[in-house]
Subunit: 473 residues, 2 copies
């Protein structure tokens, strides 16, 4: 049943074999150049500070005009007050930084150290994209209401980070990205993790090789709110806590203190982060918060999907990206030799930071480097040999054109052909046929060709016969 | 038959549907960052000039130690004299520019105006690759003698040019690249053009829509040699002549004069360039030169392949890339509305400019922008609708886990599934099923589920039945 074609997807589609049978559309995100919002970089720091600290007094807006969904989208982000924005414009060429912009700025600045960024000839500050989600967010906003929700899209795209190279970490890698846009329930996160588990199973990885650590940022949020820590500090605290396994705990504490957290909050945070079971978490947080409700539902769904043995609760997982708002998860190798294999989470407020309406969303990124290390480690790298149906060769320089004609005929019938383009001895041809795993050798010799025939040798059985060119199948 | 796996190709493979059935291996060229050979940029101009002009007195070296092939590889490039290179090193941190390096430098400088180039944090001058061939050349040199020749590789990669945007010309595009490395004969060019013709036919483009203009750079080379113009001017002259249809003829003449060509040579060149048939070319050049031998063989092979009506000789085609040495071709739309659709040629000396041994090679680049314009123009853009085998939905919020289990079972059997993740009315589910072209709807209802069954509705026929979950196929 033909529908309207989407020309921009036509030639750009990358088929990823393992993903084919899932109900996810491919969205290729061709723009690798990420605009760095240069105006925000030049804005006066003082204004930014005063605005972002005053934001905590603004009312929380949880209603979402576009989708009509409100209940399950929780804060922290504060919606900009539209009327105020129109009345009180910042001086020309400068910008205010409401919390959602400030979070984006923080995210950008945190990434600057690792970004491939430069100025183009039009004096725009651009960078090679470090990940795909912001590009996806922009695409969704651009498509607007013409795409019915939910969207379930995946893309495999190249990403760049300028950083120290370590095992499974290069400056350039491919990332498989999968996102569900428009579903507020954790059924979406459960579906995403299910996709990754299906992928793992297909490539031979089991639950004894890898697992997923799962938590929710709402855990931290509930702790911070319990101590009346302002919401705008939330993203910053998450980014600090994500460094827990990379830098000494005293440095973490120092950074948390500089984020204006009291000793009491810091101690409570660190205690909560050490929790490794939902039962203990319930003791800590009580039963009413969204964090626990979401997590319990996710673990219950995991059982139904059949991947309960792959996932475990671990409050220390927060992920390093500022825009996550709910469930976060990361795939890890159980031997603990490698970096995180993949990671994802819910980002219900990313779209508004790009100027769109908020739509509930979640997704994950899965790089190609660490998984290949793991497959090597486990001896699971497949042996992929070249395969070709025919190798076609003329026995005589004058018959090269005839061999080309035979190749053409076979290709028109959908057969793959390696046409020998040079004068080579038969010994060489047999050697090449073996190397490319050719199934049969078609020999174009003078006597046969005059009868409109060619010689065929089935290379697996050694069987040999002559056949009319028209009858070659 | 398993052979040694090539891990670096494992996850990175991009399958391009139209190319699948050909005997071409996919080589993905992941490095989009092109090193700009920063040392050469900083080298003193005077040394460069004196070296490149003295190069014309060096003997031509046509022997190729690696491949043992010599006869059919013609000049112009001059092999660096190894002994001399070891004795007379340029001052530390500076470099000489033998002709092959100079050509590369010219090519780079010509591209600077259009390159996305910048300095990275390690102070390396890098650029986003404008095309794939130099990356391929580097890969071939790196693989060295471990890959048996000939190589027949293709890649689909992203390329960037910072330039004025016009129809079918963007700053970022995907390019299908196909190369044959190790075949000195024009059988290789014939095979490349055959691949493009096969592709055109598959997407519905005919010989009345597009054609190929074919020539050989050896035509110009023979004219220049006839007038004793030094070989090192050859690449520069080609680049000037490529601008013929873009800038006024008087400017072309001015540029040719500044390349030290006499009026007589310029007039002769312009005359030869206007030749549109092999017969006329033979009158001009005589029968002995390689240009004519190559071209005649190519046209003869085209007849055997069955694409003679797609190609025509046109001496004005030289292509804008400095490194071509022999046959050059470009695909064009016969209505003359669009830019070149694709282009390619022989580049027997590119590898030595990267420090490798020369290996005969040819290839083409085919961007995704112009062909899509042409397909639109001809009404040939296919309508590609989403397709999914099953849409699975629970009739009751409590049965969401059950629906997830059903989705899991179907996916394990290789079926594609769109799982409804929210509570939606059946009307919504049917609408979505129609939009994604789902073949059947699986409904998970309470009464059936208690019997271990689900409801199935075949959406094309309207047929409805219940089936045991285990028996779902």
């Amino acid at each position: 049943m033909p529908a309207i074609a989407n020309p921009s997807l036509l030639i750009l589609l990358h088929h990823h074999h393992h993903l084919r049978s899932r109900r996810f559309a491919t969205a290729l995100l061709p723009q690798t150049l990420l605009s760095l919002l240069s105006s925000s970089i030049r804005a006066p720091a003082l204004r930014a500070h005063s605005t972002s600290s005053s934001a905590q007094t603004q009312p929380l807006s949880t209603d979402n005009a576009r989708t009509g969904r409100s209940g399950s989208i929780s804060s922290p982000p504060v919606q900009p007050d539209i009327a105020q924005k129109i009345d009180i414009n910042p001086p020309k060429g400068t910008r205010d930084f409401p919390p959602e912009d400030m979070r984006l700025r923080n995210w950008l600045f945190n990434n600057f150290k690792e970004l491939y960024c430069f100025e183009d000839r039009g004096n725009r500050r651009v960078a090679l994209r470090p990940e795909l989600t912001p590009s996806l967010a922009r695409l969704v906003i651009q498509k607007g209401k013409s795409v019915p929700l939910p969207l379930k899209w995946f893309a495999v795209g190249q990403c760049w980070r300028y950083e120290r190279m370590t095992r499974g970490r290069r400056r350039e890698h491919y990332q498989w990205n999968m996102d569900i846009i428009g579903v507020p329930d954790v059924t979406a996160e459960a579906e995403l993790i299910s996709s990754i588990v299906t992928f793992f199973k297909r490539i031979g990885i089991t639950a004894s090789d890898v697992g997923f650590k799962v938590s929710s940022r709402k855990v931290l949020q509930e702790v911070l709110r319990g101590y009346s820590v302002p919401d705008h500090l939330f993203g910053r605290v998450c980014v600090i806590i994500d460094k827990m396994e990379k830098i000494p705990i005293d440095d973490i504490k120092k950074e948390l203190r500089s984020a204006e957290l009291s000793e009491e909050v810091i101690e409570e945070l660190l205690q909560v982060l050490s929790v490794k079971s939902l039962e203990k978490l319930e003791e800590k947080l009580g039963t009413v918060g969204e964090a626990l409700v979401d997590l319990k539902q996710l673990f219950s769904l995991a059982e139904k999907y059949g991947y309960a043995d792959w996932i475990q609760f671990d409050a220390s997982v927060v992920r390093g990206i500022a825009y996550y708002t709910g469930i976060v998860f990361e795939g890890f190798d159980r031997e603990g030799k490698l970096r995180a294999i993949c990671g994802g989470g819910r980002y219900d407020h990313l779209l508004s930071t790009f100027g769109g309406d908020d739509i509930p969303a979640c997704g994950f990124g899965f790089g190609d480097a660490v998984i290949v290390e793991l497959l090597k480690e486990k001896g699971l790298l497949p042996e992929l040999s070249p395969q070709v149906e025919n190798i076609v060769c003329s026995l005589d320089q004058d018959l090269r054109g005839a061999a080309a004609a035979v190749a053409s005929i076979l290709r028109q019938k959908g057969q793959s052909v390696d046409l020998v383009l040079e004068n080579k001895p038969l010994k060489w041809v047999f050697k090449r046929a073996a190397r490319i795993n050719a199934q049969r050798l078609i020999l174009v010799g003078s006597a046969e060709w005059q009868k409109g025939m060619v010689g065929v040798k089935i290379l697996t059985s050694g069987e040999q016969y002559e056949v009319k060119v028209d009858e070659l199948e």
